[in-house]
């Protein structure tokens, strides 16, 4: 346990030891908030809720999470430090989990730094806090699922660029598969298959949480995806 904590601490702080963290945070805040205000016409909607903020998160995360996750293993492989890390008395599982949690905590921090959104809603109107809390909760879970995939793609290569592109493609597919425009492409296929495809989408599972409904099914989806990706991640590193 202490090994996971040490790895977590080192990894989390390493974001801040370079200027990387600040760049990421600023980009994330600008992107998520400007989409809400300008594309989502937050003001015109005249609703005291954060639907127009949450609805863009699956898309923003599809770019942001690979950027955060790409360095997790690719950098260690490139500089050779994984040899140092994995010959210390830790298991690969501990290393994978520690690093994943650090990245997840960083994304969660980024997400919390958008607190100005709920603050403005509270200032301007009288929002229903239920959907806002469940929306944030769902966003954290969803970010974890994205990150587990990016941690895996990062373990596959020495190049952070390849890790980013691979992660981005997979994340994007997972968003797109639930997008109505995308599922119309498959309208020729049997309904069961179209449903199955859209069932794999992050949007499908995030939508209800955005509206304030947290179901076991959706939580299980994200959690099992995280576990599955991390297990693959461990298998890749156990050479």
């Amino acid at each position: 346990m202490s090994a996971i904590l040490s790895i977590f601490k080192r990894e989390f702080l390493s974001y801040f030891r370079s200027s990387l963290a600040y760049v990421f945070l600023i980009v994330f805040i600008l992107l998520s908030i400007s989409l809400t205000w300008f594309v989502g016409s937050f003001f015109k909607s005249d609703d005291a809720n954060l639907n127009r903020f949450f609805v863009f998160l699956p898309w923003v995360f599809a770019i942001f999470t690979p950027a955060v996750g790409m360095r997790l293993w690719a950098e260690e492989r490139k500089t050779g430090t994984w040899e140092l890390l994995l010959t210390l008395p830790v298991s690969v599982t501990q290393a994978v989990v520690g690093k994943f949690l650090a990245g997840w905590a960083f994304i969660t921090l980024a997400l919390f730094s958008t607190f100005t959104m709920p603050a403005s809603v509270a200032y301007l109107g009288d929002p229903d806090w239920g959907p806002i809390i469940s929306g944030y909760f769902g966003a954290i879970l969803m970010a974890g699922a994205y990150l587990s995939i990016c941690s895996l793609t990062s373990a596959l290569t020495k190049s952070q660029v390849i890790a980013f592109v691979l992660g981005f493609i997979i994340c994007l597919l997972l968003v797109l598969s639930g997008w109505s425009i995308f599922s119309e492409l498959f309208s020729g296929l049997p309904v069961a298959i179209v449903d199955a495809i859209s069932n794999f989408s992050f949007i499908t599972h995030y939508e209800s949480m955005m509206r304030g409904l947290i179901t076991i099914k959706d939580i299980l989806f994200f959690v099992s995806l995280i576990i599955f990706s991390l297990i693959l991640n461990i298998v890749v590193l156990e050479r």
């Binding site: 040490s6 790895i7 601490k9 430090t81 040899e83 010959t87 008395p89 830790v90 298991s91 050479r239």
Partner: protein, 304 residues
């Protein structure tokens, strides 16, 4: 303490390490020698549990690195090739991290252990400097410091002096020699004088196979001119050559533009025999020397 047991590593159809076995005990300094790509690093990576062997295993202090990797890893310190470090951390942050990973968590223990390695590796001046601003020599010292911070019984180092200047090399050698008595040490290198200076055992590996496993002294005996004597003689050399050619201890004599190189049979010492003969037969010997027989030629002959 450290035991490699029939280690084999295949990369696709290529066998990088082929049935490598050896044991290193406390007090041993084993030099792992070989041309580039011979399988030195791969063997070390398998011993440290970083790479999974295709077959065979390694044991550190009786603990199998495949079966119980975490316990085995507690017993050794490892300096990987080219000393990778977390460059964005300062020296202190890095050593602190290594301590926590090694289960040294109490503040007092930690301070003590870090202070010890900072002293023995001469890192006082750079404690709070980020590692990426350090010179190669300092980085290597930080690498050493992390490897010995828990005072391990076994030490495994992959090319510890690679890329260092002569003074730094000397310092690293001294450092390793100072720990030799109480630890089992494996180091790889392709600098032969290092082996002569530090090691009491040499393993030469080429194409993944162990060619030689013996002491540096015995290895030197494999030199074709081991114990040879070079004579410079004034005047007529015909008689001298005739005498030496017929001598039972002499393998061959080589005429080197005015000097005679006398090569003994089986590398036996013929110094006294020659002195005696020179006295008895009144040879006009003006110069006598034993040519340096370094390990370079032995190594080249073995790995050609």
């Amino acid at each position: 303490m450290i035991e490699a047991d029939k280690l084999v590593k295949d990369y696709g159809p290529i066998r990088a390490v082929d049935n490598v076995s050896f044991k290193v005990e406390k007090g041993d300094v084993l030099g792992f020698l070989g041309p580039n790509g011979a399988g030195k690093s791969t063997s070390m990576k398998m011993i440290t549990g970083f790479l999974r062997p295709t077959s065979g295993t390694a044991r550190i202090g009786e603990i199998d690195v495949r079966e119980n990797p975490i316990e085995a890893k507690k017993l050794f310190g490892y300096l990987p090739e080219s000393g990778p470090l977390y460059e964005e951390m300062t020296v202190m942050e890095f050593l602190d991290f290594i301590c926590s990973m090694r289960g040294i968590c109490k503040k007092k223990d930690k301070t003590e252990k870090i202070q010890r390695v900072v002293e023995i590796c001469h890192l006082e001046g750079v404690r709070n400097q980020p590692i990426d601003t350090l010179s190669k020599g300092f980085r290597q010292r930080v690498g050493m410091a992390q490897a010995v911070i828990h005072d391990p019984a076994c030490l495994i180092m992959d090319e510890p002096t690679d890329g260092l200047d002569p003074n730094q090399k000397l310092e690293v050698r001294k450092f390793i020699s100072s720990m030799a008595e109480e630890k089992a040490i494996i180091l790889s290198t392709h600098i032969l004088e290092e082996v002569e200076a530090m090691c009491n055992r040499v393993i030469i590996i080429a194409n993944g196979k162990i060619l030689v496993d013996e002491t540096p002294e015995n290895l030197r005996k494999r030199h074709p001119h081991f114990n040879a004597v070079r004579l410079k003689i004034r005047g007529e050399k015909g008689e001298v050559k005739e005498f030496l050619n017929g001598h039972s201890l002499v393998k061959e004599i080589v005429d080197e533009s005015g000097q005679i190189l006398v090569v003994p049979k089986n590398g036996e010492n013929i110094d006294e025999t020659l002195f005696q003969a020179a006295k008895d037969k009144n040879w006009q010997v003006t110069q006598i020397e034993k040519p340096h027989t370094g390990l370079e030629e032995v190594f080249a002959n073995l790995t050609k």
